[in-house]
């Protein structure tokens, strides 16, 4: 489990946390709960760059497609490949154990400024 105080969340329900110099981006538990059964995940190419707030992929539940937005800017180092064939892992696992992207970022501190820490985010959405 990732320490809650090191998780930061965007208003569009993506989270980011830092671990060993890399940044992990995923979907919040609230977002997953709202989406329901997830049946499709589309993720970006490794090596591509995305600015903060840019659309980097799509997640689709049975009911609808939702776009995914970068909570910080960065370069894609890795994507969570297992989600391509098993998108339902997002429903089955704890949200912080199933990241979507691993990125490198030069502006994390600045980009993080308008993100909420996890506890504030949870209060906001509930």
């Amino acid at each position: 489990m990732v320490a809650r105080e090191s998780i930061f969340c965007s208003k569009s329900h993506e989270y980011v946390y830092e671990k060993d110099g890399a940044y992990y981006i995923g979907l919040t538990d609230f977002a997953i709960e709202q989406l329901g059964d997830i049946v499709f995940v589309e993720l970006p190419e490794i090596g591509s760059h995305y600015g903060k707030g840019e659309i980097f992929g799509t997640v689709e539940s049975v009911k609808a497609a939702s776009e995914l937005y970068m909570p910080i800017s960065g370069k894609i180092l890795e994507i969570n490949e297992q989600l391509i064939d098993k998108p339902e892992l997002l429903n089955e696992k704890e949200f912080d154990e199933i990241w979507l992207l691993k990125v490198s970022s030069e502006y994390y501190d600045v980009d993080c400024n308008d993100l909420m820490d996890y506890n504030t985010y949870k209060k906001e959405v509930e």
Partner: protein, 368 residues
């Protein structure tokens, strides 16, 4: 203000996620759409469909009046038999699709879509002209519960309606349920065997809980509107507002099977529909299965050989089939046939799909 069905509190107790649907606060799911969907295919499910409308038509001209409203000929409809119909407008478009049940001579029950109830009621009054009929909208006093799935007949049996007394497929019967008169028809919107029960509001909760309780041994689950939609799509059934609307005709909507081409009586839109039957239509509803990894959704564009050919009316993941499927209109001048490859534009990229028959799933559990 949104309306609530009599079963609202039961849904809350069952932890349902509630959404607004056609002005009603309805359960969209209880646990998971996929789990609920598959349970209806394998066991049984219970749906609150009380938002649907029940309009009774009676009077000495009931049959003659109804005959003016749709391309179906119901003059030969057997007593207690159901018929799937579409109210058509002067342009041949569909005002609503509905089930017509003949309860007695000159006494019919119409079950209509919640989203269209007010329009339907007005449509009926508007077209009543000199017919001697009573148009009685009883939607506010009746609740409707659908029991669907291969175990539906066993469950109905377990609450005292023995299999040998149950209505046959596409028939309706009157029963005393919870001490109250109720109608049970063997119809549904899932592609499974099952029943739709129309009962007075004050007895709805008792019946709902009785069915859930006795149904436990048959693994019954309450089912929300989310799975209702995926079930009907997987059964390739049209949804008013998606496949059907006031500008789509029954011919375009591939509902020719449901109409009577040689109906003698005049009905609203007959000239257009006859003309379409003889000379064809410009677009037609097709079913497709995605070949590439992508999900088609409502209003996405359909392409054929890099040219726009139509649009998706419904699309999504089909849980029992485990595939991404859809329905949509395509231009008939593209001459598309079953098994042809088309493309669907998903987020500015084209993905391959294949036109299929409307039998995504075999009706594997039909009743007797």
């Amino acid at each position: 203000m949104t309306k609530r069905t009599c079963l609202y509190n039961e849904h809350i107790k069952l932890n349902a996620k509630m959404v607004d649907f056609a002005g009603w606060e309805m359960p969209v799911q209880y646990t998971s759409i996929i789990e609920e969907h598959n349970n209806v295919r394998k066991n049984a499910g219970l749906f609150d469909v009380s938002h649907m409308g029940e309009i009774f038509i009676s009077g000495k001209d009931a049959l003659n009046f109804l005959q003016t409203l749709f391309p179906q000929d119901i003059s030969g409809l057997e007593l207690n038999k159901a018929r799937y119909c579409q109210f058509t407008n002067t342009k041949g478009g569909i005002v609503d699709d509905l089930f017509v049940y003949k309860l007695k001579e000159e006494y019919y029950l119409l079950v209509v879509n919640a989203s269209r109830l007010d329009d339907d009621y007005n449509w009926l009054k508007q077209n009543k002209s000199d017919f001697s009929v009573i148009i009685d909208n009883k939607s506010d006093i009746y609740s409707m519960i659908a029991l669907q799935g291969p175990k539906a007949a066993d469950i109905l049996d377990s609450i005292g309606i023995k299999k040998e007394n149950q209505p046959r497929t596409m028939y309706i019967k009157e029963y005393a349920l919870a001490g109250e008169k109720a109608y049970i028809s063997r119809t549904g919107y899932t592609g499974e065997d099952g029943f739709e029960i129309i009962i007075r509001n004050e007895k709805a909760c008792e019946l709902w809980n009785l069915l859930l309780d006795k149904g436990k041994q048959y693994k019954i689950l309450p089912i929300g509107l989310g799975a209702r939609d995926t079930l009907r799509l997987e059964a390739a059934m049209s949804l008013y507002g998606n496949e059907l609307n006031e500008t789509t005709s029954p011919i375009e909507a591939s509902l020719v099977w449901s109409i009577d081409k040689n109906k003698k009586e005049n009905y609203i839109g007959k000239d257009i529909i006859q003309n379409q039957l003889e000379h064809g239509v410009k677009r037609k509803l097709i079913a497709f299965k995605m070949l590439d990894r992508a999900i088609a959704r409502h209003e996405y564009e359909i392409y054929s050989k890099n040219e726009k050919a139509g649009y998706v009316t419904s699309g999504g993941f089909a849980p029992f089939l485990g595939a991404n499927i859809g329905l949509g209109y395509v231009d008939t001048d593209k001459n598309l046939k079953i098994d042809d490859t088309i493309q669907v534009m998903v987020r500015n990229k084209l993905y391959n799909a294949q036109i299929t028959t409307k039998n995504f799933i075999k009706k594997h559990n039909r009743g007797n």
